[in-house]
Symmetry: C2
C-alpha cells in the first residue's frame, strides 16, 4: 500500500515529498474511516448495500500519449474510465486507489497536474482517494486505478437480463472519441477540412468537441443510477470498445442476439462535420470505435417514453438503436433493410 | 474492468483465450455475488464488518526479474505481498483484482504458470479472484494487484496506537529475503562459501531457505488475525522495507519513538550461515533489508507470555526486539549499550 518508503526510487522527488503532496490535498468522504497512510484503507459500506469493484490499467504509448494528453485531463480520465464501470452497474462510486509507476524523467509539475485532475474528477463524482502505490518505472508512466462503489442488491444492473423484444438504447452520441483519436493520429492538420455535412441537420463544428470526448470523458453516473433505480432496465454496460462489441457482451451474457439500426446511431454535429472529411463510412466509428464511455442498456419498448423522460432529467440524451432478438447473433442493418458488413468488432488502442 | 475485448492486443493469445483460461480456473468464495465478467464485481461484506483495501504494483526489472522469479512463484508472490497488508491490519483477506500489462513476447506458458501460482496462493489464503484488467505492454510485464479484506471495526489494528513502554515485536526471522536478493545479485556462485557460523547455535545451511523467503513469502494472515483478536496489541504493520523503516511508520503515526536492540533481531540459521560469507555486519540486512513480509507490532510487556503463546498456536515465532519510547526518535542499540550507526533507513529495490 501507499507508504512513504514506496517513493524512495523517484529521483525527482523527496522520499516523503510526493505522497505528502497528495495526502495534503485529499479529504475524506462518505464511509472513509482510514484513508492514505496505513497498510490498508478502512471504509464502511452503507448498511444493506453491496460492494462494486473495478480496476483499469493505463500505459503510456498504449492507452495514452503524453504529447496528446495533458496531465490534468489525463488525471481526470484515469479516474473517469473506472467510474464508468460503476455507472454501468447503476452503482454509487465511493472510493479509489491510485497506483503510479513513474519514469525518472517525469517532471514534478506533470505529476502535480495529474493529481489535480484526478482529484477534480474525484470531487465531481463524490469519490475519495483512499490509497495506492507508487514506484519507479524504467519505461513509460503506468497508471492503475481501482474504483469501489456500492448499491442496494436489487438495484445493481448486470450485463445479463436482456430479453428478446427489448429496445437497445445508448446515451448521448457515439464515435466522437474514436474520431478525435483518428484526427490526432493523422495529425490535426492532415485531417481534410470538412466539406460536406453528412446529414442536413449537422452544422459544421470544429474538432474541439471530439477531442474533448476523447481526452475528458464524462462517466454517466447520474444516468446509470437513475436507470438502475427505475426498474425499467433489463441489462446495462458501458461502451468502451464500441457499441457493437459491448452490446455483444450483453447479448452473450443474456443469451440473446440483437439487431442494430446503423443509421439510428446518434452522431454529434461535430462528428458529422469532421467525418465528412474521411473516405470511410462514418458510422463505422460510431459502431466500433472506442472510448465512448456512454451507457448501452436494454428496456422493454413500453417504457420508451419513461426512459426518455428519465434521461432528460439526468441531462443526457438517449436513443433506441435496435432491438434485442432471440437469435444468438448481433446484426447491423441499414435503413433499407440490408445487412451492414462491419469491419471489426471493437476498438484496438493504437493498433 | 476485465472484459474479453481488453485482450485483443495480446498477439500470442486469442482475443477470448486468456480470460477464458483464467475464468475457467476461478471459483467463487465467501461473499462473491458476481465475479469476473461484468463491468464491476459484486461482493457482500459480512454484516458488521468494515472493508480493508490495499494495492501493489510490481514491475519487471524493478520489483522482479524473469530470470530470478519463475512464473509460478511470481504469481504466488504478487498476491502474497498484498495479502500481507491485510494481515497487518488484522483483517480477513477476501477478494482480489489482478491487472496485467503483458509484453508481446511473453510465452503463454509463463502466463499460465503465473495464474496457477496466483490462484494457489488465493486458495491457500481464502481469497477469490473477482476481476481485473489486461492490456499489452511495450516494455516489461506489469502486475497490479488490489486486495480487499474485512474485519470487525474493533479488531482492526492500525499503525497508530503504540504507547511508551510497549514491547516492539517481530514475527519469525528478518533479513532472509534481503540476503537472498544479495546472493542473486552477486550471482549465487560468487557468494563466498560460508566459513564461519556467526552465532554458535547457527548450523550451516544452504541458501535455498533464503531464496524461498525472497521468492515465495508467506503472508502472516493467521497470526495477524489472532493478534488483532487478542486485544493485547496496540499497533501493527507489515515489514516490507526493513523493520527499522517500518517500525518508524508506527512510531510516527503513534507519536512515539523506539529503542531497538540490534542483537535481539531474530536471524535464521540460513541467514547466519550465508551472512558469514559477507564482510558487512549481517544485522544491517535484518534491520533495513526489504521484503520480510513479517509483522511488527507493539504490546505492553505484561502480555509478553500471552503473545508468545498466541503466536506459537499460529505456528510462527515471535521475538521482542525493543521498547517503544516517548522520545520521537527510533534508535538502534548494541548489546553493550552503544548506539548502532545504521547506514540506510530502508530497502531500495535493485538500487
Amino acid at each position: 500500500m501507499m507508504s512513504k518508503a514506496g517513493y524512495k526510487n523517484l529521483s525527482n522527488l523527496g522520499e516523503f515529498g510526493f505522497i505528502d503532496r497528495i495526502a495534503a490535498r485529499v479529504s475524506g468522504g462518505p464511509g472513509v474511516i482510514t484513508g492514505i497512510g496505513d497498510d490498508a484503507a478502512v471504509t464502511a459500506l452503507t448498511p444493506g448495500m453491496q460492494l462494486l469493484t473495478s480496476t483499469d490499467m493505463l500505459l503510456e504509448d498504449v492507452h495514452f500519449r503524453r504529447s496528446w494528453h495533458d496531465p490534468y485531463h489525463l488525471g481526470r480520465k484515469s479516474l473517469a474510465v473506472s467510474i464508468s464501470d460503476i455507472a454501468a452497474m447503476g452503482g454509487i462510486p465511493r472510493w479509489s486507489l491510485l497506483s503510479l509507476a513513474i519514469p525518472s524523467d517525469l517532471p514534478l509539475d506533470f505529476l502535480d497536474e495529474f493529481i489535480r485532475g484526478y482529484l477534480a474528477m474525484a470531487t465531481e463524482q463524490g469519490v475519495a482517494l483512499i490509497g495506492g502505490d507508487t514506484c519507479s518505472s524504467r519505461s513509460g508512466l503506468v497508471i492503475s486505478v481501482t474504483i469501489m462503489g456500492e448499491q442496494l442488491p436489487d438495484l445493481i444492473l448486470r450485463r445479463s437480463g436482456a430479453a428478446p423484444g427489448d429496445d437497445i438504447w445508448v446515451t448521448d452520441t457515439l464515435g466522437d472519441a474514436a474520431l478525435g483519436l483518428k484526427l490526432l493520429e493523422g495529425g490535426l492538420d492532415s485531417a481534410q477540412p470538412p466539406n460536406i455535412a453528412q446529414k442536413p441537420d449537422c452544422p459544421l463544428i470544429g474538432v474541439e468537441g471530439l477531442l474533448s470526448r476523447l481526452l475528458d470523458p464524462t462517466p454517466r453516473t447520474v444516468a446509470g443510477q437513475a436507470l438502475a433505480g427505475s426498474g425499467l432496465v433489463s441489462a446495462m454496460i458501458d461502451i468502451s470498445d464500441g457499441v457493437l462489441a459491448d452490446y455483444g457482451h450483453i447479448a452473450r451474457l443474456s443469451a440473446v442476439g440483437g439487431s442494430i439500426n446503423l443509421e439510428a446511431l446518434p452522431l454529434s454535429p461535430a462528428f458529422c462535420s469532421a467525418a465528412a472529411g474521411f473516405d470511410s463510412f462514418p458510422y463505422q466509428l460510431a459502431l466500433s470505435g472506442g472510448e465512448d464511455y456512454e451507457l448501452c442498456f436494454t428496456s422493454p419498448p413500453r417504457y420508451r417514453e419513461n426512459i426518455a423522460d428519465l434521461l432528460k432529467k439526468c441531462g443526457v440524451d438517449g436513443t433506441p438503436v435496435g432491438i434485442v432478438t432471440s437469435s444468438p447473433e448481433v446484426k447491423v442493418f441499414l435503413a433499407d433493410g440490408a445487412e451492414f458488413a462491419h469491419k471489426t468488432e471493437g476498438f484496438t488502442h493504437f493498433a
